[in-house]
Symmetry: C2
Subunit: 131 residues, 2 copies
């Protein structure tokens, strides 16, 4: 398996991480996600990490990079399904994951993205009204 | 990785198959899916196989089993993301996958499930009207 599949569901792109993120897989994922955001106009990226028992600093950095790329392309990243033990490890590693939103599961993550679209939609309308 | 994550998205459960389905992983997936359908009341199961370059008779049978279990629990299974080469192999193997619906991608698969819910909803209303 060289590439992690990216699924378009509603307004979001969904990625389920099930395998160890080696350098090349992580880089391919970042690149693929960037391309798919541009191509699909998705406003959100849901990353499910419920299968991961361990999140080391490399995975933490990869998630932060993905969120950074997505933000520049006007999409919000929500990490879902984090196990409590993983959260503890991340805090112990000093990785507070700034700029990454989390939600308990995919359904709640999707709600976060929809809420953000509703907000941004209102803001855009406001700008248009002012012109 | 011992279990494949199952995500609840809207009215459906979503499974992305990225790893080789060994006996124990496949059995755990069937069991987990059955439990989640009952617990969540999901009306559909989306199985993304876009990461699979090869679908052998074991995987074909596993998908058929999942669809069979889901059907008994009143949920429709839609397999999405099948590669053309995989479709050719399945036909050559004589696995026509009866009872399994397919869709080109997750978004179209979700539409199939929503359409089915709309249909069933109408049928139920009709029965209620007759009483």
């Amino acid at each position: 398996m060289d590439r992690i599949p990216i699924l378009k569901i509603g307004p979001a792109l969904l990625v389920t991480i099930q395998v160890d993120l080696h350098d090349d897989v992580a880089m391919a994922l970042e690149e693929d996600l960037g391309n798919r955001i541009v191509k699909s106009g998705a406003k959100g990226v849901l990353i499910d990490i419920s299968a991961l028992e361990i999140v080391d600093s490399f995975i933490g950095r990869t998630l932060a990079n993905i969120a950074g790329v997505a933000r520049l392309l006007d999409a919000e990243t929500v990490v879902v399904g984090m196990r409590p033990a993983v959260a503890i490890t991340l805090v112990e590693l000093g990785l507070s994951m700034p700029g990454i939103r989390t939600a308990l599961d995919a359904e709640r993550g999707m709600a976060v993205i929809r809420a953000r679209i509703a907000e941004v939609g209102t803001a855009d309308d406001h700008v248009v009204d002012k012109r």
